[in-house]
């Protein structure tokens, strides 16, 4: 590990910060504050320090240290915000970010090197390559459901690519946001990286400013608002949007294992996940067994009273609680669970059956620990249902029949796909993660994050010594030189090589 710059221990930092905590520390969003932060960031960018590999490495390593040294604080705030168990916080938030940061550290040199491309015979005297440059100052708007990971994983990419960043975590996961606002200035360069907070109306103001990229995770409606605002300044955007992720359970399937894997995915974080299966399309032949298996899994996971289980979360706020409760009350029949407590924002892990396509639970994104199961009579019916809807962020299928899996995969479209499990494809650093159609545009994770926050500039370096090669292209044009040029520059169908004479 690179030696950290000498600084007081984190504990002392916190004590100092708490003593001097004032309005300037909280950077509550206001347009003038943001304009100033943007100006500061542009100045920091212009200084060139983010261009250096050592700088980026030091920032990424500082981020890792921040997570390691403050693990307990993160566990605490996530528990306050979402009643998230320590196990989930460590594995699905902290480790994910750490892995991404270390992956970037391990590969940064390679990513920053120019990529030389195949050249033609004639341009072999030239250098042709693609070099990655930072875009500039990027805005990252993270969501509340996994507030550490959804803010810091894009931040890793933006930092690795050499940008300055304005990070806006969600005001809904307020304790986590406040912790990030407090910690990040203690670990990262305070000129280059800023954390702000604010509500939905503040977002409109923020989007008036010009950034070089906007990365947004959240709802479709706000995603549209972000892209519309970005259109004014032609700012590129990455949008990772929620929706309803379908999960098809086939008649040929190990129902017991499928139930475990689905239950794990659906009910972790009390169902508040962009990537969990949102509903099940279950083949009629296995539906009864699936429900039994789910009931038994839930008992095994959370005990007879999930409310008392330390492994089960709560809904983030009253608004979401009401939304999920109303969906449950208006849709199908409760087969498992259904208990609720408004004061605790607790909804038991719930399975709904006899659900119709027109039910609210099948029309709106659920975002809670409720799994509707709709019956289908064939895999084809499931495919047709899925294709009638908007392209989801994730699509899942449980089947031991390879043909069913293959059909499902080739006849549908989704951000990502997983057979016989779920969520995992969104956690692998080697796979791009993102949406398509209404579930978003662009992708990130691993090298993809670095690319998302970079401009890949094409470069051709020539010299002027070999003018004999290019003379054919100049006027006065002659038919005979044209023939020669066409012959020389035409790509042959038969050969893999190509020739470029310009």
């Amino acid at each position: 590990m690179l030696p950290s710059p000498s600084s007081p221990s984190p504990a002392r930092w916190f004590r100092t910060l708490r003593r001097t905590k004032s309005t300037e520390q909280s950077s509550k969003l206001s347009l003038s504050v943001c304009t100033e932060l943007l100006r500061k960031s542009r100045e920091a960018l212009a200084s060139g320090r983010t261009l250096r590999e050592e700088f980026r490495l030091s920032q990424l390593e500082a981020l890792v240290r921040m997570l390691v040294e403050n693990e307990d604080e993160f566990v605490d705030v996530l528990h306050k915000d979402l009643h998230k168990p320590r196990f989930e916080t460590v594995l699905s938030e902290l480790i994910l970010v750490k892995n991404e940061a270390l992956f970037a550290v391990n590969n940064l040199k390679k990513w920053m090197n120019p990529e030389y491309v195949a050249r033609s015979l004639v341009t072999s005297l030239d250098e042709c390559f693609v070099v990655s440059e930072p875009l500039g100052v990027v805005l990252i708007i993270g969501s509340w459901s996994s507030p550490v990971q959804l803010n810091l994983v894009p931040l890793v990419g933006a930092v690795a690519a050499g940008n300055c960043v304005i990070l806006k975590p969600s005001e809904i996961s307020s304790h986590t946001t406040e912790l990030l606002q407090r910690l990040i200035p203690s670990y990262l360069d305070t000129e280059c990286y800023h954390v702000i907070s604010g509500g939905p109306s503040d977002l409109t103001d923020l989007l008036e400013l010009k950034f070089d990229h906007i990365f947004y995770t959240g709802s479709r409606a706000t995603g549209q608002q972000v892209m519309q605002a970005a259109a004014r300044s032609l700012t590129p955007v990455t949008l990772v949007l929620g929706g309803k992720n379908p999960c098809y359970v086939d008649r040929e399937c190990d129902v017991g294992i499928a139930a475990q894997r689905i239950a794990w995915a659906r009910f972790h974080n009390a169902g508040q996940s962009d990537v969990a299966p949102d509903f099940v399309l279950c083949h009629t032949d296995v539906q009864a067994r699936l429900i039994l298996a789910l009931r038994s899994c839930l008992l095994q996971f959370y005990g007879p009273e999930p409310r008392h289980s330390a492994s089960f979360g709560r809904l983030v706020n009253a608004e979401l609680f009401t939304h999920v409760r109303d969906l449950v009350l208006a849709s199908g029949k409760v087969a498992v669970g259904g208990e609720m407590d408004e004061a605790e924002k607790y909804i038991a892990p719930t399975v709904l059956t006899d659900v119709l396509e027109s039910d609210p639970a099948m029309q709106q994104e659920i975002r809670g620990p409720v799994l509707p199961i709709m019956t289908v009579y064939s895999a084809d019916e499931a495919i047709n249902y899925i294709r009638r809807k908007e392209k989801p962020l994730c699509l899942y299928v449980f089947s031991s029949d390879r043909k069913v899996i293959s059909n499902m995969m080739t006849c549908t479209s989704s951000g990502s796909f997983c057979a016989n499990d779920s969520v995992l494809q969104s956690m692998m650093v080697m796979l791009p993660f993102g949406g398509v159609g209404a579930s978003g545009m662009g992708s990130y994770h691993g090298r993809c994050s670095f690319n998302t926050f970079s401009h890949r500039k094409s470069c051709v370096l020539r010299n002027t010594r070999v003018e004999c090669v290019t003379y054919l292209r100049y006027p006065p044009y002659e038919d005979r030189s044209l023939s020669l040029m066409m012959w020389a520059s035409s790509l042959s169908r038969r050969s893999q090589a190509w020739c470029q004479i310009l």
């Binding site: 995603g223 032609l234 479209s413 057979a419 796979l431 520059s489 169908r493």
Partner: protein
Amino acid sequence: MSDYGAIVQKLRDSFGTRKTRPAEFRISQLNSIVKLLRENEGAIVEALERDLRKPKFETMISEISMAINEANYAINHLASWMKPEHVEKSLVMKFDECFIRKEPLGVVLIIGAWNYPVQLVLVPLIGAIAAGNCAVVKPSELSDSTSSLLTELLPKYLDQSCFSVVCGGAKETTELLEQRFDHIFYTGGVSVARSVMRAASCHLTPVTLELGGKSPALVEGSCDVTATARRLVWARFFNAGQSCVAPDYVLCSPETRRLLLPALRDCITQLYGTEPRESRDFGRIINQRHFERIRDLLSNSQGRVEIGGETEEGERYIAPTVLVDVSESDPVMQEEIFGPVLPILTVESLEEAINFINRREKPLALYLYTGDSKVVTKVMECTSSGGFCSNDGLVHMTVITLPFGGVGSSGVGRYHGRFSFDTFSHQRSCVLRGFGLEWANQLRYPPYSEQKLERLLQATQERKWSCTLL
């Protein structure tokens, strides 16, 4: 339903039949594009002659040949592009299949531009076809001879159930943009690009915007002045200056300017003769509006015409022109010229030139003429642009293995070669597991415990300088 709605629906229905998926279909359509170009070479040359007085030579190499090469390159590589890309797996995922599928987006819209009306429609179309999409193509109404020709020819060569051509101007384009597409590819100017992106945002449609801007050409003291002049002249006055990547203005020291001007004059004469108006090798401005725009830039400029400056309205002719004593606030420096006029601004140092460039919007291309490789590195690293080329002009966009696109206000996204295929594809991450090894999953299930967490952490943490386990 409007006409456009019906067109898009028809394409969507075709896309739903999956006929564009097999490689054979895509290759057959790409072959048809090659056939279209080869069999109608004469007609295309004539159409471009009518629209832009484009010399046959320029049409052949910058329109027909470029499109044929892109089509053949796609045909040659399609199999490898379509193959799923398997990724490195961790030990824990050893028995799973983890790969990225390349899938078509659906129905895409391609809006072409008038300056290279064949290439700017067909090269994106080639990418869209290679990636398995259906497409609506809207050529520019300004290059109306070429657009009419494409409107007539494309349906004859391509599968009409999958590819449609729509004609029209601003009003028709606005109506077309109300439809929902799965990707919009636009080449043109900044203000229409904003409307395109705004319209796209209503449907969350991703966009590729190939725009322009003022591409600077730095001419540094150690360059080979003669070769530089020849290449600058070629790049600037090709297609009568109507290229999005043409050098738009020159930055050099007063001393370099003193040497450059006679060289430019000589080159212009060598390439276009003493009366460029009589040269068959020099084009014309696309229409009256642009002719007047450029002529007004010239007359309102506070600089001095050093070379050229003649105009002739009837022919929409503007002579290859070099302006000097131009300042940053000059009208000619406020917008992309897009015509055969090259202003030269003087700076005292390389740093001043770099600062000048960095004060402005990021350009589509940045050119540098120098004999010193350290200067190349410095300028390349200290500035940002869509593309960069030293000691030449335009050519970086013809290297098929390099992505072509802008950054900042010069554009969003990129294409050419494999990058066209990628632009029109969705890269879908897939993980295929079996039902085995469930014992390995037990660690992740509730009820949670510190022991389970410890064991999982051992298996899943990335370490610095070591292999990935998850």
